[in-house]
């Protein structure tokens, strides 16, 4: 029983990271229909930036804050300089471009920081704390807390603010959005900026347990795809719930189904994608746009 609870908590922690990255994927997908394959590498780049600041003597939280600001600016710049010129062209072109970005960012990371894994000291100690005989790692609990705070902030942004209303309008119906005066291109750029920030949070939260190296987020990105598909590619809430469910599921299956173990973890995630696409293609929270004729 103790082990069961521990597995759930550590599953929630890794699931929180999948969920944050999935949220980034969903933000871009629902406004442009594009799957940003470079999202994971963007997150790794952000984590490297944070690591560099820390290794120059910055404390964690200021370094983290600066990383988020830089990531936001980077996402914004990426959209306006590279994505926007081919926006409106075939989707496949943009998707291939994001794959190109994946390779470019990966190369950039290796070129600047080298391929060797670096130890990343996060804000949460790895020391366990005991609650009624069960030991949890502070790191896990911290990541879970961060994931929930971020989800709440994103929720408030989207449903309670004017900016969120504009972002949703531009995503749902760009032509109509322009007619009411929403600057749709700015909204798309903001979407990329936000996605980059979410990715940065995922990357920095993942780095202490995964070790920082250029390929750090590649498998995480696959889990994030699975999480996004599970929750619904167009549902921000679904992305996070999908991530948490996936994290817990993978941990439990890995622990209790012996023939799966650790080796088939990724295959299990892909099986989840397949199963969702077969049974409920719009995901748990996704909805086909309601239309009455």
């Amino acid at each position: 029983m103790t082990n069961f609870i521990q597995q759930i908590v550590s599953g929630l922690a890794s699931g929180g990271i999948y969920g944050l990255l999935a949220l980034a994927l969903v933000l871009i997908h629902r406004s442009t229909g594009v799957i940003n394959f470079a999202q994971g590498e963007m997150a790794t780049l952000s984590a490297f930036v944070c690591w560099t600041l820390i290794s120059h003597g910055w404390a964690f939280w200021p370094a983290f804050g600066a990383t988020l600001v830089l990531s936001f600016a980077g996402g914004l710049a990426l959209e306006t300089t590279i994505i926007r010129p081919i926006q409106g062209g075939p989707l496949l072109g943009i998707v291939i471009l994001t794959i190109g970005l994946l390779i470019a960012f990966n190369g950039l990371d290796t070129w600047i920081w080298g391929g060797a894994a670096k130890q990343f000291h996060g804000p949460f100690s790895t020391a366990p704390i005991r609650v009624g005989g069960v030991a949890f790692s502070k790191q896990d609990l911290g990541v879970i807390a961060v994931a929930f705070v971020v989800l709440a902030l994103v929720g408030v942004l989207f449903t309670r603010t004017r900016l969120g209303l504009g972002l949703r309008a531009a995503a749902v119906n760009p032509d109509e959005a322009r007619l009411v005066g929403v600057r749709v291109p700015s909204m798309l750029a903001l979407g990329w900026g936000l996605a980059a920030v979410l990715g940065a949070i995922a990357g920095v939260m993942a780095a202490p347990s995964l070790f920082l190296e250029p390929n750090m987020m590649q498998t995480v990105l696959l889990y994030a795809f699975a999480a996004a598909v599970l929750g619904g590619m167009d549902s921000p809430l679904g992305a996070v719930v999908g991530g948490l469910l996936l994290g817990v599921l993978l941990n439990l299956v890995g622990t209790y189904v012996h023939w799966i173990g650790g080796e088939l973890r990724l295959a299990t995630a892909l099986a989840v994608i397949l199963a969702v696409l077969l049974v409920r293609p719009s995901g748990l929270f996704g909805r086909a746009a309601a239309r009455r004729v």
């Binding site: 004017r162 504009g166 949703r168 749902v172 322009r178 007619l179």
Partner: protein
């Protein structure tokens, strides 16, 4: 004082020319109907004003020539365009749709919302529902209500009665009449010429991308060719 002026406006969709030099004037406070057969260029005329189609020729607002007409910029200048087919944000709530109408003013004021709900009580009952789940008539009300939230000087409507029950269509035109009385200038494209000529003060008839006839709505109602072509008696 003319609010809107089109001088020799041409527009094309790729190879196809939709407007062959449309010239017309809409006065401040006017209620204008655009009549014409399918493909005559009525919709494109509205789109030329709101900047949703590329044009040549001059479009003047308040006597000032407008150069860069994007839909966003025109919305800021007080032009609200309700396109054909009840363009709403289908997955957003009715309330969010209305809030978006007031986008150019910042946040929607409760007073404006109350005003729209006064005109359309049914929208109030359904304010938390997804717009896409409303009936056709309710969606048209929502599209109109959203345009009202922008407090526009110039309201452009494309086929507001399309597919609606006659009673609902009259309700919509009744609201347009009341908005017009309080100073909103209205240009409406309408297949139902009887309804349009009853509501409007002036009308223009378009044929193959040109204005071929214009004048008082009352006079046009008596005009032999308008009666035969558009009123059917």
């Amino acid at each position: 004082m003319s609010l809107l002026e089109l001088q020799g406006v041409e527009a094309r969709y790729g190879e196809i020319r939709a407007l062959h030099g449309v010239t017309l004037t809409v006065d401040e406070g006017d209620f204008v109907a655009l009549l014409g057969a399918n493909g005559a260029g009525k919709t494109t005329t509205l789109r030329a004003v709101s900047g949703t189609v590329k044009t040549s020729g001059d479009v003047l607002l308040d006597g000032q020539k407008l150069f860069r007409r994007t839909p966003e910029a025109m919305a800021r200048r007080g032009v609200a365009h309700v396109p054909e087919g009840r363009g709403t944000f289908s997955t957003l709530s009715v309330l969010d749709n209305l809030r978006l109408g007031a986008w150019v003013h910042g946040n929607a004021e409760p007073r404006e919302l109350a005003h729209v709900f006064e005109f359309f009580p049914r929208l109030y009952e359904r304010r938390l529902q997804q717009a896409g789940l409303l009936s056709g008539g309710e969606q048209q009300m929502l599209a109109l209500g959203r345009a009202m939230m922008a407090r526009p000087r110039l309201l452009l409507l494309d086929e507001p009665s399309l597919g609606l029950a006659p009673r609902v269509a009259r309700e919509i035109f009744g609201v347009l009449g009341r908005k017009n009385e309080t100073g909103t200038t209205i240009v409406v494209v309408e297949q139902n010429a009887t309804l349009a000529l009853e509501a409007a003060q002036h009308a223009f008839v378009l044929e193959t991308g040109r204005v071929v006839l214009g004048g008082d709505a009352a006079d046009l109602r008596k005009n032999e060719s308008v009666r035969r072509s558009y009123l059917g008696y």
